[in-house]
Symmetry: C2
Subunit: 244 residues, 2 copies
C-alpha cells in the first residue's frame, strides 16, 4: 500500500490481540515520531511508556473505563514538555519565562505532531492505534501517577497494538467544507454540514442495525453544549503553563 492510501485508511482500533509490541519496534516508532518538525527546535515532547499493569488499570479507569488502555500491546502517555527546556535555560545561565499561552501552544503542537508521526510509523507496519484524550479527565492524578514535574502536561495517551478487529472507515466532513480557497467562505457550510449529517445518520443506522439514529450536528451539540473538563484551566496554571 502506498503511504497516501495508508493515511486514508486510518481507523481507531480498540481491540487488540495478546501479542506484545516488541521493544525495539516500539522504540523505532517513537524515534520516528520524534523525527517530526519541531518549533525552533524546542522538542517540547516527552513520551512515557507505561507497562506497569496497576498504572495501566488506574489510567484506564480515570479515562472513563477504556479497558483497551490495559490490553494494548504498548501504551504511551504523550506530554507537552517545557520542563526540559527550563533545565536547559538554567544550564545556559539564563532565565526561563515559559508560562505564556504561546509557549503552551508551541509545546502542544510539537507534541501532537510528533505523536501523529509515531502513529503513521505504527500503522505502516500493521499495528493499530487509539488516542486516549480521556487522560485529561483527571490530569492531576495523571501527574501524580507519572511523577510529572512542573511545565509538563499529559496531553493524551496512545494505545498501540496488533489489531483484533476490522472496523469500517468513519466518514469525514466533505472536503468542500474543510478545505477553503483564499478566505474562510461560509456560503455553503450549512449545506455541507446537512449533507454530512445525512451521511453520518446512515452510517450509524447501518453499523447498529437501526438502533442509533444520530447526526453529526447532534453529536456536536451534545459535546459543545456543555462544559468540558472545566479543571483544565487551573490545572495548567498549577503546572506553570498557559498562565498569561
Amino acid at each position: 500500500m502506498n503511504t497516501i492510501d495508508l493515511l486514508r485508511s486510518h481507523r481507531s482500533i480498540r481491540k487488540f490481540t495478546e501479542q506484545p509490541v516488541d521493544d525495539d519496534l516500539a522504540e523505532s516508532i517513537i524515534t520516528a515520531g520524534l523525527s517530526a518538525a519541531t518549533s525552533s527546535n524546542l522538542q517540547g515532547t516527552t513520551v512515557i511508556r507505561v507497562c506497569n499493569p496497576n498504572t495501566r488499570a488506574a489510567i484506564a479507569e480515570l479515562a472513563g473505563g477504556q479497558t483497551y488502555v490495559e490490553t494494548a500491546g504498548a501504551f504511551f502517555v504523550w506530554c507537552a514538555d517545557l520542563h526540559r527546556s527550563a533545565v536547559a535555560c538554567e544550564m545556559a545561565g539564563g532565565e526561563f519565562h515559559g508560562g505564556m499561552t504561546e509557549h503552551f501552544i508551541i509545546a502542544t503542537t510539537d507534541c501532537a505532531i510528533a505523536a501523529q508521526n509515531a502513529v503513521v510509523a505504527a500503522e505502516s507496519v500493521g499495528l493499530g492505534i487509539c488516542y486516549i484524550g480521556g487522560i485529561r479527565n483527571d490530569p492531576a492524578q495523571m501527574t501524580e501517577l507519572l511523577d510529572l514535574p512542573e511545565q509538563v502536561v499529559p496531553l493524551f495517551g496512545l494505545c498501540i497494538g496488533w489489531p483484533d478487529q476490522d472496523p469500517a472507515l468513519k466518514p469525514r466532513l466533505p472536503i468542500s467544507v474543510t478545505l477553503k480557497e483564499e478566505t474562510y467562505d461560509t456560503t455553503s457550510e450549512r449545506e455541507g454540514i446537512a449533507a454530512y449529517d445525512a451521511h453520518m445518520r446512515e452510517y450509524y443506522l447501518e453499523r447498529t442495525k437501526g438502533k442509533v439514529d444520530r447526526t453529526w450536528s447532534a453529536d456536536m451539540s451534545a459535546l459543545l453544549g456543555k462544559e468540558s473538563r472545566p479543571h483544565m484551566r487551573s490545572y495548567l496554571d498549577s503546572q506553570g503553563m498557559n498562565q498569561r
Copy 2:
C-alpha cells in the same frame, strides 16, 4: 523507502523549484491529512489554501520575512476551528459553550495531527515542507486577511513544494531523554542535555564552517528567557477561544 525510514529522514525545506504542485495532488494530500484521528469526531480543523500572490506576500512579511511562503508551490494555513461545530450546534437546536481551555486543546491537537498527516503524505511523494509558526506573530492580521470568523484560530502555515535544496538532518535530543519508562525520571536529564549540547555545537560549527558556535541550551535560553507573542492570550479571547 519504507515509511519509518521516510519519517526519520524529515528535514524542513525552505527553497523550492518553480514547479507548481498539481491541484489534484494538493487535494489528495489535504484529504489524507484530514483522515487522521480526531477527538470525538469534532474534526476541528480547517485548511485554507492561499494562491493569491498579494496575500502570500503579506503573510511572508508578517511571519518575519519568510520568503518561501511566496515561492513554495503550494501554501496552506491550518486553523483550529470550532466555528463549524458552533453552526452545527445551532442547526441541531442546541447551545454552544466552546470557549473553554479544554475545547481549545481539542481543536489545536486535532489540527496539528491532521497537518502532520498531510506532511507525511506530501513527503511520501517527494515534496518538501516547512511549517510557518510565524503566522502567530500577527494573528489579528491573519484573521483579517483570511476573513476568519470567531472560534477560528490560524495555528500555523505550511509550505509544500518540490525541493531545491538537500539540507542535512538536524540531530534530535537522545531518546534516553525524550522517552521514559513508567514515570518522569529526571535523574540523567542534565547529562543527556549536555551530550546533546556538544552534538549540536559540532553540528552548527560544521554547517557554518566555524562561524556559529551555539548549543541547544543557549538556543532554549534565547527562546524562553523572554516573552513570546504576548498578544496570543487576548487574541484567543477575542476569537472566543481559551477563555475559561
